[in-house]
Every structure is written in C-alpha cells, then in structure tokens.
Subunit: 113 residues, 2 copies
C-alpha cells in the first residue's frame, strides 16, 4: 500500500481515524500533481469545485466536480493532477473493511447515478 | 429503526448507496426541528456552519460547527433542532456494518480529537 499521507503528506492529512474508517482531508493548488498512491474503497465529498486528471499507467480520466458533491471511489491505485484554475479541497472517508485494491476498479470517482 | 429519510424526508435525502454505505444529504433552515430518528455509526461532514441542539429523552447537547468539519457519530437515536441563524447543510456517510443503536453512545457528533 502506497499510503497517500506518506506519498503526498503536503496534500493529504488524517482528520479522523477509528476501527471502521480513516478520514483524509485533501488540498492542493492548480498545477499540483500527486505521486502514485493507493485508496481503499472510499466516499469522497468535495468541499470546493475543481478540475482533475486521474491517471494509472496509460489510462487517464478527467473529472470536473462542484463543491458539495458525493462520489464513491472503488479501491484503486492512481495519481492525480489539478488541471483547473482553482484549489482542490475534498474529504475522503476510507472504509477499513474494503482495503483490497481492485485491478479493474473504475478509475477515479464514479459518475453520479 | 426510525429512518431519517422516512421521518424527515424534507430534510434528509439519499445521495448514494451501495453494499457498504448509504450517504445522506441533510438541509434545514433556522428553527427547523426533526422527528426522533436513528443513525447507524456515521461520519458527518459539514458543508455549512451551523448551531444545533441534539436531544434524546431528557438529554440535550448543543453543538456549533463550521463548514468543512468532519465528525464521527456513534450509532444513536436523537432529534435535532437548528438553533442558529443560518441553514444547515451536511453529509452523513452511514456505515452499513455498524447499524446497531448503542444506548450509551455519545449524543451528537464527537468532539474533534
């Protein structure tokens, strides 16, 4: 596991943790790019709007999110880049029971259903 | 279980659900009060700042939260009242594996650690 709080400690910080969940706060500025890291199955809640490119290997996906959106994130490895003109601010609720990295997970947050 | 989307459908709505979590969005206006309802163990993320009174039986607790705060909520029954001058807006990530209502749970969101 490449823990994002280890690979990118300037962007990810732990705001809460117990036996069931770990909650991360993410912040970056336009142009910032993370190292490759792993997420367990998580719920992402956006606290700002932002434009983001998410990549793993040759695969890339661009997402545009508004503030206050809720997205499920399958367990996955990726790196991210702020491709917009505004800072990113989001919370990730990591589920400890679902920590296996799935190799056929959807890259990045799922679309709203 | 008194599901808050049933007791207070004008305030709570489901924004995402799968086998691991159900995510609720909560909104109300100053002076609004919910019916008594049950929460499984949940993570609450505030999207606005608000002042709230949370009650069960004779027990009452007032909390003041800013936007962008993250709080663990033990599984519990309670009702809530917006005692401030601003609308409330929050997201609850309900954990499906932890749905038992604990009778000695901390009322309302835990303090930041």
């Amino acid at each position: 596991m490449a823990d994002p709080t280890v690979t990118d400690p300037d962007k990810y910080r732990v705001v809460f943790e117990n036996e069931a969940v770990r909650v991360l706060e993410y912040r970056d500025d336009p142009g910032a790019r993370t190292s490759s890291h792993d997420h367990p199955a998580s719920v992402m809640i956006t606290l700002s709007g932002f434009d983001r490119r998410i990549s793993v290997g040759e695969q890339t996906r661009d997402v545009t999110l508004a503030a206050g959106e809720v997205r499920w994130l399958d367990a996955q490895s990726h790196w991210g880049e702020n491709i917009g003109s505004t800072p990113s601010h989001a919370v990730f609720v990591e589920l400890k029971g679902s920590a296996v990295i799935s190799r056929n997970a959807t890259l990045g947050p799922l679309e709203a259903s």
